[in-house]
């Protein structure tokens, strides 16, 4: 029972945790650029400011979809934490993408529409990789069950090193970080799917993004198995690595993103899994 309670609490506070992660990220990024950066609580100050603003919308459908994106994100996190099947959690995430893209497609702004289309390209890039990663966990642990993975005595990282690296390189695609931030691409399409949201509706989309942080980094944590300190260390390392990568690289074309995922990341992960299955 203790495990479930903990996970339920984690899910409940996920937006706050995600907000803190985002706050830390802004500071880390600023320090990497020799800036001081905003205070840690800045995302929450933004939150209150945005909630206070006069709500403006393009039309109801669009606004509703922003809220649905937030709900679907939160629910997929709940499924990841409390359900016992990782694969189901991966597929639940698609619902969140559906809400976001339908919303973005529904307005007549070219930026939003292009952003939605690119969001789909993001999904094509990371979705099969996520499935492969979960299958990799199954190969190591012998179960799709989250609890079994968290109680696994060995270290999944040692058996899935290539899958881990591929996943780390796919994280920028999931969290919209440079070099794979093509869907948001602020200088180019001004935020893509989120451009038309404002006030509280924007806040919904934004909080959804915070939840995605928790969702993604939890997968990194799983690579430590029952060695939670290792998991935490991995999360820290990946967090710093992704931010460094974000700071150091320029944005790539979306074709390059899809090609990189399909011709590099997915084949090497598949090989990792095949050899794992053969040598076991």
């Amino acid at each position: 029972m203790k495990f479930e309670t903990l996970m339920l609490l984690l899910t409940l506070f996920a937006p706050i945790i995600g907000g803190f992660v985002y706050g830390v990220e802004r500071i880390v990024k600023a320090r990497m650029q020799s800036r001081v950066g905003p205070p840690l609580m800045q995302p929450f100050y933004d939150f209150f400011k945005l909630m206070d603003k006069r709500p403006l919308m393009v039309h109801s459908l669009h606004a509703v979809m922003g809220i649905m994106y937030f709900i679907a994100c939160w629910f997929s996190l709940l499924v990841l934490f409390l359900g016992n099947d990782l694969l189901v959690a991966v597929f639940f995430h698609v619902i969140a993408v559906l809400a976001l893209t339908i919303g973005a497609f529904s307005v007549r702004s070219p930026y939003s529409v292009i952003g939605a289309m690119r969001e789909l390209m993001h999904m094509i890039s990371y979705e099969p990789l996520m499935v492969l990663m979960v299958v990799g966990f199954y190969q190591v642990v012998g179960s799709f069950n989250l609890k079994d993975i968290l109680n696994y005595d060995g270290i999944p990282l040692l058996q899935l090193p290539v899958v881990f690296m591929a996943f780390v390189l796919a994280i920028p695609m999931m969290l919209h970080k440079s070099p794979f931030d093509v869907a948001e691409a602020h200088q180019e399409i001004i935020g893509g799917p989120e451009i038309e949201y404002s006030g509280p509706f924007y806040e919904a989309v934004y909080t959804g993004k915070w939840i995605e942080y928790v969702y993604v980094f939890f997968f990194v944590f799983l690579f430590g198995g029952s060695h939670y300190w290792l998991g935490a260390l991995l999360v820290l390392f990946v967090f710093l690595f992704v931010n460094a990568l974000d700071n150091a690289t320029a944005r790539l074309d979306f074709r390059k993103m899809v090609k990189f995922s399909w011709f590099v990341l997915i084949p090497v992960s598949a090989f990792n899994i095949i050899f794992l299955a053969l040598w076991r």
């Binding site: 709500p55 393009v58 639940f92 893209t101 930026y111 529409v113 099969p128 492969l132 799709f144 095949i274």
Partner: protein, 619 residues
């Protein structure tokens, strides 16, 4: 029992004949409406009779009648080939005639019954009744919108259902050939129904492609006769699988691939869209293409684990992904649906040839839910075409204002094809879980990759189409709900209700209805059971709160826009960087992919040859 079986097969033929002769509006409407409860009742009685599987002996004269019918059918094909100056059709008809004569000379009398009814057959009856008949009902209204020949059209549709019922109950492969070719004939007649140049051309294409399947069945039959002398499905399944000729099984699978419109034989199914929309609905959902997974399910116990099965996995899985990719480049709504059918058929066959009990469950689930969803989507495509005059997805923009109800149905149909709590998703999910258990062969890792990638591409496809239809200018001005004809609404709500009902109770439904069929087919008990309303597969659970949560979120997403209007919120125009708004926004057509289409097709041809040569051991 036997009476119900006979009636299930014969009644649609009789009703079709009556409709064809009487040509009266009242008779057509009433009879097609009546077929729904009647056929469903028969299927229900057969399914729950408790003494399945059973063999039904047929009188001796039926054998002769079918042989004569065969010759008549092939003669008709030959005549059509000569009349339409198609060398291919005539040549294939002649080839089949020659092969058929050899078969008849070689065949010896067998005491095995010619009709075999098991749970799978009853399952197919059920699909034909619940999914197939509403399409005929829909057609009675559809054909009143400036189309000619309503009565003969509905008659052919209902006859087609009878043919399908017959095809899934035969045990004798020679009879199966006759029925296989009859479905070819039915599709030929239906595709050519409008009789314009394009329709005739596509009908001829469908005819010769499906005849290749017929030739493959005859080759299989010849090989079976030559090697073991057996030509009944039950006999084949009861013998030691090592004794069976893999070549023959390879030919049988080839005919399934052709019937299932797998690339490179996918063009005939695309061509079918020139016909009136109910034709596409019936070809894609309840009849015709479903023979392909049915046939593979029948022979799956003997091909399971062989090299043939592995090569079939690679081929069908490739089609699953490639068809989904090509679908992204299409802009005709019906064509997009056709490509997604081709793609999902690949998945069904893949699951069928994997052949473990859980994989067979997945295949059955996919057959059922795909039938419902595709029937539903094509019905809505018909409504769009006739009432709203929309054929291409670029005409679908702002559909949300013009046809809110129809769009909601389409939305729901698309959600059913890929998203979480629905049957198709569960099929994919348990397929991945099952394949993860035996990854030691490369084809199974490929399988997981195929399923993951293909479902990602299909999701992208559906989101793209939906995205275009919800786009509108600045706020929903007025939602004008155009009143639709009663029959259209009845059929839509029928499908909608069934899909919703089955999804909510999916766990007990799978555990009590689908699992016994898989158990009977594979001879082993699949490790699937329902824990109240949660579904347990091996060690994984899909909880009811997950099913319900996803269902609630998705129904909110697909229905909320019509009901929720924020009253006190000001609206703003979208940001466009100060430029003039484009009158409309085009969508990505993935032109970068379409130039690879020929490579994909060439690769699938190579895989086909590999299946036959390596898997069938032809050389």
């Amino acid at each position: 029992m036997e009476l119900y079986v006979t009636l299930s097969i014969v009644l649609p033929w009789i009703v079709a004949f009556v409709i064809y002769l009487v040509k009266n509006d009242f008779v057509t409407n009433v009879l097609s409406l009546l077929m729904l409860p009647v056929l469903a009742y028969f299927a229900w009685e057969i399914y729950f009779s408790g003494n399945l599987p059973m063999l039904v002996d047929t009188p001796h004269w039926v054998d002769y009648a079918i042989t004569i019918y065969d010759f008549g059918l092939l003669g008709y094909f030959l005549y059509q080939g000569i009349k339409n100056k198609s060398m291919l059709v005539s040549a294939l008809a002649v080839l089949q005639l020659v092969l058929l004569i050899i078969v008849i000379l070689m065949i010896e009398h067998s005491n095995t019954a010619n009709i075999y009814i098991d749970k799978l057959t009853a399952f197919m009856y059920m699909i034909v009744a619940i999914v197939g008949v509403p399409i005929a009902i829909f057609a009675t209204k559809y054909m009143e919108y400036d189309e000619k020949g309503k009565h003969s059209f509905v008659a052919i549709l209902i006859w087609f259902l009878g043919v399908m019922n017959f095809a899934v109950s035969v045990n004798n492969i020679e009879w199966f050939f006759a029925l296989f070719e009859t479905t070819t004939l039915a599709s030929y007649v239906l595709i050519r129904f409008r009789m314009d140049d394009q329709a005739v051309k596509n009908a001829i294409l469908a005819l010769w492609m499906n005849q290749i399947g017929g030739v493959a069945i005859l080759f299989a039959l010849l090989t079976f006769l030559k090697t073991s002398g057996l030509y009944h499905f039950t006999d084949l399944l009861n013998t030691d699988s090592k004794m069976l000729s893999l070549t023959a099984l390879g030919f049988l699978s080839l005919s399934a691939l052709v019937k299932g419109a797998q690339m490179p034989f996918h063009k005939w199914l695309l061509g079918a869209m020139v016909a009136p929309t109910p034709v596409s609905a019936i070809l894609h959902s309840a009849t015709m293409v479903k023979i392909a997974p049915y046939l593979l399910l029948r022979i799956s116990p003997v091909i399971k684990g062989t090299l043939l099965a592995k090569l079939l996995i690679i081929t069908t899985g490739f089609v699953f992904v490639a068809a989904a990719v090509i679908a992204l480049t299409q802009e005709n709504f019906k064509k997009i649906l056709a490509y997604s059918t081709i793609s999902l058929l690949g998945l069904m066959m893949l699951a069928a040839v994997v052949g473990t009990p859980i994989a067979i469950t997945a295949s059955l689930l996919l057959i059922l839910f795909h039938a419902f969803a595709k029937g539903f989507l094509f019905i809505e495509a018909g409504v769009l075409e006739k009432v709203f005059h929309v054929k291409y997805i670029k005409q679908m923009r702002r559909l949300i204002e013009r046809a809110p109800l129809t769009l909601m149905f389409i939305f729901f149909g698309f959600l059913n094809m890929t998203f979480v709590p629905f049957g198709t998703f569960i099929g994919k999910w348990i397929m991945i879980e099952e394949a993860s258990g035996f990854l030691s062969h490369g084809s199974y890792v490929l399988l997981i990759l195929y399923v993951g990638a293909g479902s990602a591409f299909l999701s992208v496809l559906y989101m793209k189409v939906l995205g275009i239809s919800v786009r509108k200018s600045h706020g929903i001005e007025r939602v004008r709900a155009l009143p639709l004809p009663l029959k259209f609404n009845f059929v839509s709500v029928w499908y909608y209700g069934w899909l919703l009902f089955l999804t909510v109770f999916i766990a007990p439904f799978i555990a009590t209805q689908i699992v016994p069929i898989a158990q009977e087919l594979s001879g082993q008990i699949p490790n699937i059971h329902a824990d109240n309303l949660s579904l347990v597969i091996n060690t994984s659970t899909l909880y009811f709160w997950q099913i319900l949560g996803a269902l609630v979120i998705l129904s909110l997403i697909h229905a909320l826009p019509f009901f929720v209007h924020f009253k006190n919120v000001d609206t703003a125009r979208p940001y466009n960087c100060g430029e003039a708004f484009p009158r409309h926004i085009e969508t990505y057509n993935f032109v970068c992919i379409s130039k690879y289409e020929n490579y994909l097709i060439a690769f699938s041809i190579a895989l086909f040859v590999m299946v036959l040569v390596l898997g069938g051991g032809l050389l």
